[in-house]
Symmetry: C2
Subunit: 349 residues, 2 copies
């Protein structure tokens, strides 16, 4: 009876508009669904295990086990690059969805709980074939730099069938991580999702993820950037690697020629936003750095939250820098502070 | 050939002494083997779920699942009261062993990895009957107080057969947590371990764990304290609960009558150490408090490390206070700093 009453009171158009608003998500992300295993270490440990500081390397289950046995006590926190970004968008007060594959195991439950508890729509079916949930062994050196070794586990089973078409069509932004090009089927899911977005009003945002990842897929990434991506996130190492152009400003210009919006982060040097020929430089927030894990992910979260709320690019950049400063002030790539309150307090936005 | 040469060069007595040194552990702990699931929350959440702030409550698998579904994103860190203490002793540079039951699941691997990676001897066979590794859902309110809901899982399967007699005989101190009286079989393991210690040169140290736990087993704990325990750790709420004596000083005196060494912690008021009629008051370290989880555990770690290295009770108290200050400065009950270096730097010990 109550429903009928509501239906009678409001006209159909109002209800449709309400439903549309309800269904529209600010950002939908697709990425590797990973639990981070974070431990502090010394530089000597990286050298001993032939690990390249600051990079993300893929590792087999066997090698992951060896590394885990050798490393010190750790902390487990939900991670995954795009997942961190989506968690950040939700923590800021945006509406968000995520697609990524975990297993039906304890770490899969951890990942699912953490992202859903932020209000993120996450419905990808977990795999139950025995492949465990992905883990990234993250070693944090005294200089706060993180070095990642990722065992992809269940992530390799994300495929085109896991792409939720309705969710993407109804999102303002589809956010994709370059890391998805590592698992073969995930790449197909990536391409399918991008096609759906390109055929609707959904903007496509891409992060290049990691300079070694760019090196692996350079030509494919350039083609994507030139043809299907609207918004590009990259750091200095990634953008210079993409264009094989050591001069940052030149590389930035090359990206800007093909894209509506380019956001380039430069750690403590802040970030550069280029849109339709206009360049804005946004300084980084001054903060004590504990662990850089997730800095780029939360930068993207802050920017996309601002972008989908209709803020100016400059304000988006400020929110982004603030979110990045929060994440590097503690261990782990998921926010420990109420980001929404932080933005209000520090920026008045 | 090499072995024979070594054997010939050193006489048997030297080798035996070396073996003995090698075998003697400073502290062996027995406790519930738990992974902590830590999340920040508001006071309203505690009220809504009828949780008593600052306490540890036991929960069923079903209720644990409901609480987990309701709580926000969390961080997973190895925990368990005695296990935290043992991890602390090892981090300080002491030699240590631990007995406690996990399952052969992912959280069991996390617990085992973390404690072993500190050099702790941990050989308890994991259960494989499907009961999962124990979890404690720890909610940290803005005042940094922690409220714990523990699902004991595999811990209830620790029994007398898991007690490693040789390890206890060869330890300087056996450290037991009062929480072990909750699972029925663990209580038997506790009593067996204490008997072994009482019949050798191993001192028995007990922590009362929690005032609700004391309330559950008051008479049994008093009997233990009067007859089988050498060193008692308790906080203000626990010692006053044990003797039903609201006046802290009187309760402290009552404990001291039966024990060689009593260590009573009083949060920011510091701690009181009473030994053979002499009372020493040790102030707390001034620090910013993020999360009080593990404060008592790391206090005991610092004290027992100092005690087994032969330091004065006053120095033991200082090391203890320093370790407690480290643990409350961040989320989680396992140290994030090199405790050994910290003690050298701050106390010159």
């Amino acid at each position: 009876m109550h429903c009928v009453f509501v239906f009678d009171t409001y006209n159909r158009q109002t209800i449709n508009r309400y439903m549309e608003l309800f269904m529209t998500l600010d950002v939908v992300g697709i990425g590797n669904a990973i639990v981070d295993v974070l431990a502090r270490t010394e530089d000597a440990f990286l050298a001993e295990h032939n690990l390249t500081k600051g990079s993300m390397a893929l590792t087999s289950a066997e090698d992951a086990e060896k590394l885990y046995a050798a490393m010190g006590p750790a902390v487990e926190v939900s991670g995954g690059s795009a997942a961190n970004t989506i968690a950040g968008v939700a923590a800021l007060g945006g509406t968000a969805g995520f697609m990524g594959k975990v297993a039906d195991d304890q770490l899969g439950e951890v990942f699912s709980h953490d992202i859903r508890s932020l209000g993120v729509e996450y419905t990808t079916t977990p795999t139950s074939d025995g492949t465990p949930t992905a883990r990234s062994f993250i070693l944090v050196t005294p200089d706060a730099e993180r070095t990642m070794n990722t065992f992809l586990g269940a992530c390799v089973e994300l495929g085109p069938d896991d792409v939720n078409e309705e969710m993407i069509k109804n999102a303002k932004v589809l956010y994709l991580e370059g890391y998805l090009w590592d698992p073969e089927e995930a790449k197909k899911a990536f391409l399918k999702a991008m096609d759906i977005a390109n055929n609707s009003d959904t903007k496509v945002a891409l992060t290049l993820s990691d300079s070694f990842c760019v090196d692996r897929f350079k030509h494919e990434f350039i083609e994507l950037v030139e043809n299907q991506v609207d918004i590009l996130f990259a750091n200095e190492a990634e953008i210079t690697e993409l264009y094989g152009e050591k001069n940052f400003d030149k590389a930035a210009q090359m990206a800007a020629e093909h894209l509506h919006l380019v956001i380039l982060t430069r750690s403590e040097k802040g970030a550069v936003i280029i849109s339709d020929g206009n360049r804005i430089d946004i300084p980084a927030f001054d903060t004590s750095v504990e662990d850089t894990t997730g800095a780029g992910d939360l930068y993207a979260a802050g920017f996309l939250y601002g972008f989908t709320q209709g803020y100016s690019h400059e304000d988006c950049g400020k929110i982004a820098a603030l979110c990045a400063s929060e994440i590097i002030s503690h261990v782990g790539a998921r926010p420990e502070t109420d980001l929404n309150a932080l933005v209000k307090e520090k920026l008045g936005l």
